[in-house]
Symmetry: C2
DNA sequence: ATAATAGTGTCTGTGAGACAATATCAC
DNA sequence: GTGATATTGTCTCACAGACACTATTAT
């Protein structure tokens, strides 16, 4: 019935949780922060970090708090946005739980701080994570999150969130390549990135790597959306 | 705390609801289905249709059921997708309520069936609705939903969901114009629509309106995404 | 004929894909 | 020098915006 109707179907209690899909690019792979569950159900299985929403706390606030507790990082340093809600009956055998999933993107983050349950946290390559058995419906959430990240790379400038500043154009390109599983033409990628107003800002500095010509360094620009977008089109196969 | 931690912060009960943003194009305006609240809080104010999720029901199922109850329509005839969750403490003065908003798009729908509380439902132009006082945080939800609809028109073929079949290219163009608040070049729009594989399929029939050359009729095609997208760019002002 | 809407054709500029060529480092 | 990576430049094609022009109906 609608909200203005008499509660012939009364409200019934559910639990509200937030789950975090924290993605980073590390050692050439897209990785997700997973914890090993220390209790039933799904004892020993990988699971997304997350927890109950507290009584006086909004959803975004709960996600920020969990992020801080899990990674020891200030959520303002990461890109954090709601993904969507999941509430299939039976998704948690302990009762009716509606979870709101958040997608967090950040540069090669330190392995989470010790001293908490997050000590059991690991950066797992997304490919492996999707093959492994994840607790609850976390495999579905992870799939959705990765697809969302791939799409956001097309239409927004969030790729810079994966790079510690200052970064090179090649650093940024590798983010796209790893997350999309493609190779991109360095020349065309550079043209797109440097000619799109507000995508990256040159610092004037250069960095010399092990080999090759030193690369110019950049910071993230002010633009949030990419117009026109940077579409993954033909997607030439990788490797 | 994380899910695997001891429940030092115990779960606490919240209510879960779904709210529907049902949009249609009618009489030259983008309209949303709103109800007049028949009880406190926000007695007499406009509100989005919605209601409690039932114990054995998933979120999508709850949205489909509410849609059927509110409009008498089979949800499969409409485009229905989750928008996002809203759970700010205090958004409902009666208690902690997390709502999952859904966006439904459909062709000029009949005014909802009588015999239920939906008898108080009206198709309100979105512009008016955003000026009016909406119950709870429904103004925020409506703003987000309209922005989502505008964006979906760019990257997907959902615009056809607003047209009763068969439809003409001009019908489809008016959907874009009304929802974006712009005018589009008829010639360029036709080229885009008819040359994009799977956007529309010709029926071979024609329709004669009050004036002018009869227009060819089309059905929605199989494509779900628009590649390349149909971007609102310069957005020439309307009127 | 005129008004009105549908539909076609063409010119042009922007931007992406392909790819050659050059620059600058370590060794 | 070689090898490796960065950076610039160029050619071409797809496609969108602007807009002229033709087609088919009602009146």
């Amino acid at each position: 019935m609608i909200e203005s109707a008499p509660p012939t179907i009364p409200r019934f209690p559910v639990s509200a949780t937030v789950d975090l899909v924290i993605l980073t690019v590390r050692e050439g792979a897209l990785r997700v922060l997973l914890i090993r569950r220390g209790k039933e159900p799904h004892l020993g299985a990988y699971a997304l970090p997350g927890g109950y929403v507290r009584p006086e706390e909004g959803l975004d606030a709960a996600a920020l708090r969990e992020l801080r507790e899990e990674t020891g990082l200030d959520g303002r340093a990461l890109h954090l946005a709601q993904l969507r809600a999941y509430g299939t009956p039976g998704r948690d055998p302990r009762g009716r739980v509606v979870t709101v999933a958040y997608l967090a993107l950040g540069p090669d983050l330190p392995t989470p701080v010790a001293g908490t349950d997050a000590a059991h946290a690991e950066w797992v390559p997304v490919d492996e994570a999707l093959d492994a058995e994840l607790a609850f419906d976390h495999a579905e959430i992870l799939r959705d999150a990765v697809e969302e990240a791939r799409t956001k790379l097309e239409y927004t400038t969030v790729a810079t969130s994966f790079c510690r500043e200052p970064f090179t154009v090649s650093d940024l390109r590798r983010v796209y390549e790893v997350i999309w599983g493609t190779t991109l033409d360095p020349s065309n990628f550079r043209r797109k990135v440097t000619r799109t107003e507000g995508f990256v800002e040159p610092t004037g500095e250069r960095r010399t790597a092990e080999a090759g010509r030193p690369a110019a360094l950049y910071r993230a620009g002010r633009a949030q959306v990419l117009y026109p977008p940077l579409l993954r089109s033909g997607e030439p196969e990788r490797r």
